[in-house]
Every structure is written in C-alpha cells, then in structure tokens.
C-alpha cells in the first residue's frame, strides 16, 4: 500500500525496516540520535536534519551509535565492522567532509574485495548529504559523486525521489559491497508515493521519467526535476525529450542511455556537479564512443561552472543549473 511520504521519511523507513529485518544492521554517525552524555533529551536530533530520528529509542544504543567528530575513525569503524559481520550504515553528515576520511573509503572499503583476492565482503553503506541550494557555501554544498564514481570498488547511488530513496537504500543495505548513498539536501521535503512494505530497486537500472523521441536528457538526483521541468516547457513547443534518471552512477545503466540516444540521436547531459571529469563527461564520452553513429548533433553538457559553490543566494541561484539552461541546450542540439 503506497501513501505519500517525504524523501526524508522514506529514508527513515528504509533504515527502520532493514534494522527490524536484520539484527546486524547498525547505524552510526554524529548525532544520529543525539544528546549523548547531555543533560536533556536523548534522540534529540536524529541527525542534523532529523532523518534518523526515532531509531535510537527503538533499537537502542548498541545499534544506533552516536560518534565523536572523527570521521576517519567512525567511517573506518563502519568499514571494519562490515568486514567482520555487521551491516553498518554510517552517516557522513555532508559529502563535503569526505576529505577527512577518504582513505577509509577508497583505499580500504573499495579495495578489500579485489586486493584480498575476492575473499572479503564489505557491506557498508555511507549515507551522505550533497548538493547546493541551501546557501551552505563552498564546504557544505558540493556534489562530489564523480569522485566516488571514479573509484573502482564503490557503488554510488543518487536517488531523485522518495520511492527511489527507499528502494535504493534497502538495496544498498542488502548489497554486499560498499555503497555511497548520496541524498540531495534539497529533496528531503519532497513528497511522493511510497509503498509501506519493503522493496529493493536493483542497481544499474536507470529510470525513464519521461519518454520522448527528439532529445535524450541524461541526468540524476535533484537535476531530474529540473530536466522534467525543462521537458514540460519544451513539450509546449513540440520538442519531445526523453529524460533518463540514472539512479546509480556506479554501476551505471549504459544500455538505457545508449538505446535512448540511438532512438533520439541527440544528447544533453545535465549534472549538478562541477564539469571536469564528471558524470556529464562520463555519459558524453560513453555515447561518443558507443552510439556515435546515431548522433545527429553535438552532445551538450549542462553543469555547474568550474568554481566552488558561492554563498550569496544571488550567486548560488546562478550556480545551479536551471530549466532555462537545459531548454537552451536542447534547442541548440535540435538546431544543429
């Protein structure tokens, strides 16, 4: 039975249901419950935005672990615990903080299985908040999923709506590999239909949010909504866009991308990340290599500029790709 809940509630529900199902699932992070050692209320926050609230009272301190502010320490602990029989879901409050713990992610978690000749499993999930839009400035607004996507051994997930958030998080927890689960901070309050019962969405299966014959727009995360908005506008002018929501960037559903471009002959890639060595270039390169023969026009990338995220709302609004930029890009490739 589906009902409307928010992206944030969907994440909470996935955690709750998986913790219920499997005793080895534990969560950890800074203030994931909150109030530890403090005189007031326990479970005071449930994470900085309340996403994990309610889990500590239900599952107790052994399974909902508040941590000191030592990301290498506790992300590494999650990785170690995963190789030793638990299924930890660690929260890295902002993806921007990856810099203080990246080694544990890319040199340890990502490489164990290969480096140890296939004998290790590291079923750890790192939930993290990314993206611009909250005037959180340069160190709290980055995307950075291209960095994780570059690293072999990591799976990278970027849900764009509540339904996907729940199903992909459940899959992430059940998956035996390390997963970077990227939650766009702008989407937490977005509501959508979500079934009550647990369900898993397989990795590497993109979602076509809108079908169309003229141009393929490949995108992900919050940008799916920008793409849909642009597609709505363009439809009024008779331009039919197919919007592909990648859902996961590693593994990436290359087949759906290629099939769509083979049909439309035109590609716009929309990525909120910085432009260099990004998902935008990745998808573009894939198509230029594998579907070149179908292309009727140059590929066009719409991304954030090659700058840190600015603070001022005036600047940040210009920084984030918007529907007009997408429409312009689509028109450009239609005219070419």
């Amino acid at each position: 039975m589906a009902r409307k809940i928010s992206y944030q509630q969907a994440i909470n529900e996935a955690l709750d249901q998986e913790m219920e199902r499997d005793e080895t699932v534990v969560i950890m992070g800074e203030d994931v419950a909150g109030g530890l050692g403090s005189p007031g209320e326990r479970d005071a926050w449930g994470g900085v935005l309340g996403v994990t609230k309610g889990l500590q009272p239900k599952y107790g301190d052994d399974r909902v672990l508040d941590t000191p502010i030592t990301e290498s320490g506790f992300i590494g602990a999650a990785v170690g615990a995963a190789t030793a029989g638990l299924r930890p879901v660690a929260e890295l409050m902002f993806i921007d903080f990856m810099g203080v713990c990246f080694d544990q992610i890319f040199n340890q978690a990502a490489k164990f299985r290969y480096m140890f000749g296939g004998k290790a499993e590291t079923p750890v999930v790192i939930r993290t908040m990314y993206g611009a839009g909250l005037r959180a400035a340069a160190q709290h607004s980055q995307c950075l999923y291209p960095v994780f996507t570059h690293i072999p051994g990591l799976k990278v997930v970027t849900p764009s709506n509540p339904y996907d958030a729940k199903g992909l998080l459940i899959q992430s927890i059940r998956d035996n590999d390390p997963v970077i689960f990227c939650e766009h901070k702008f989407l937490y309050t977005l509501e959508g239909d979500v079934p009550e019962e647990p369900y898993a969405i397989p990795f590497g299966e993109a979602n076509i949010t809108r079908e169309g014959d003229d141009v393929t727009i490949v995108t992900l995360g919050r940008m799916v909504h920008i793409a849909n908005e642009a597609a709505d506008n363009l439809a009024k002018d008779g331009v039919n866009c197919e919007v592909v929501d990648l859902r996961t960037t590693s593994p990436m559903d290359t087949e759906t991308i290629i099939e769509s471009v083979e049909n439309t002959g035109r590609l716009v890639v929309l990525d909120e990340a910085n432009p260099r060595c990004s998902i935008a270039t990745d998808v573009s390169a894939l198509v230029a290599q594998e579907a070149f023969g179908s292309l009727k026009a140059p590929i066009k990338m719409v991304t954030a500029p090659h700058t840190p995220v600015p603070f001022s709302d005036a600047l940040e609004d210009m920084y984030i790709p918007d529907a007009n930029q997408v429409s312009d890009a689509v028109r450009l490739v239609m005219e070419a």
Binding site: L36, S38, A137, P308, F311, D313
Partner: protein
Amino acid sequence: MQLAREELLRAYRTMKTIREFEERLHVDFATGEIPGFVHLYAGEEASGVGVMMNLDDRDYIASTHRGHGHCIAKGCDVDGMMAEIYGRTDGLCAGKGGSMHIADLDKGMMGANGIVGGGPPLICGAALANKNLGTGGVAVCFVGDGAFNQGTNAEGMNLAAVWKLPAIFVLENNGYAETTSSSWAIGGGNPVDRAKGFGLPGVSVDGFDFFAVHEAAKEAVERARAGDGPSFIETRLSRYYGHFEGDSQTYRGKDEVKEIRESVDALSQFREKVIGAALLESDDLDSIDGEVAELIDNSVSKAKASPLPTSEDLLTDVYVSY
C-alpha cells in the same frame, strides 16, 4: 589585572560588540532574512577576546564555524562581516564566503572554517611562516570540544611540538558538539592531559573570566614569541544559543543557559570586576554599550543596502575557469 585603562575599555568594547552582533543575528535570523547556517558565539566572548588582546596583525588565527567572535576580536571590520553574512558585494569575501568563511588575511584572520578540525594544520603553516620570515608573530588555532577529537587536531598539535612552532592551541570547550556532550566524546576526559601527551604544556581556565583567559594566553604567547614552542589552553564556557540558529536545544538542561547568564556571564562579570576594583566607571561602559548598539544597527542597514553580486562575480577568483 595589570591592564591599562585603554586596554580594559578595548576589551569590553570588543566583547560587547561580539555580544551585540550575535544577539542581533539571532533576532534577524528568525525573520528569514539571513541565508544559510549561522552559528553564534554569544556567551563565549571572554575566550576570544582574552586571547586576542595578546595579539597583533602579524599574528595569525585559524577559526571555526563559530567564527564571528574571533573575527571581531581579531579586528575584522564589522560592516564587512555583516555584509558578508547577508551575501552582499561589500562583504569581506564579496559575498562568496558567508558566515562560515569570513577571512581577512591583512588582519591575520585566516578564516572561519566549515570543516571541523580544518584549522589546526593550517595554523602550523602560519606559525612556520612567521618563524621563517622572522616576523616575531605567532599563530593561534581555536577548536571546539568536538573538533578537539579530530585527527587533524592531533596531527597539528604533534607537528607544532616537533617543529617547535610559535603556535597556541585554544580549545573552547562549551560542553557540546552539536547535541553531544564533550564529557562523553573526549576519551579520558582531560584535554590538558591529552595535549601534554603531544608535548604541549597546557592549562584549563574559566572561559567566562576574561582575566583568567587573558593571563593564560599572555603566558602562552610570550612562550611562543620567545621561541619556546607551542602550548595549549582550554577555556571552559557555554554557548547561549543553539548549535546553529533553528536548533531547539532539547538536549540541554532546563534553564542551563539562563543560570549561566545570571551567574557567570562574561560581560556582567567583567563589568563588576572593573567597577569593583575602581578601574573603570559605569558610565565608561554604558557609553560603549550605546556606541556598539549603533555600530551594529548601522552595519545591518549598510549590509541590506549593499548590492548583490552579479553573474560576473560567479566566475572570478577561481584559479582556472572553464
């Protein structure tokens, strides 16, 4: 209390400016006019000012997400700060940084920092630069009790010790990292002992007491200037507001802040002491209060009148543009 009258007035003015700046932000944030995250320093004034009264422009500091007080105490322009917090072109960072990234290198203010534990390594470098360039300057790193546990803080303390840097590590222990108690999060429970384990002599002082902080910092700064290496100070204090604006603070004790405000508030305490010792008169301080209120009022008006940055500003000041 061997401070001259002028210094006492300056100390009070600075503490009052911080308090007023923060109280005003608290009010204005609620109206929705101020974008982003704002972490207020109100309550902790004696710490920043007590330390900074020992420094001058050649001395560097690295601050934290809760940086307004450090900025003001280190001499940053209040109008520039307010405009920055409003995201305007007249801001100290032209609107590109915001509350968490206010910096003014000319004043030796190396930046607030959005990364908990970002500062300690940086300050080692500033101390090294002062040492190598022979400026006589020192470098001071502020961290909170949460940041104190970060590996970067351990590395910074160790590097300062082995390089014998003119550096001072100040832990502002306000009891909480977000909602989490410092008494839980700091293994061993004694920051001074931990610092000693890295080779840093240290003391723990009452962070509401300007004079105690000033005295401890004076000693540490003298040691550093004399080439005798780094040291550590813990100031024990409290924040008067939530972790950031919007925090409902249910994790705190009932009346926790109220009691502190009433009993050990840094500004009231200072007032009582200097008047009690007949070093300053009530009028001196009252007139400062008035001036500061006007200063902050003006800074808000100026900030609101300052232009927003434009699309051109979006692409400048990055090393490479594409």
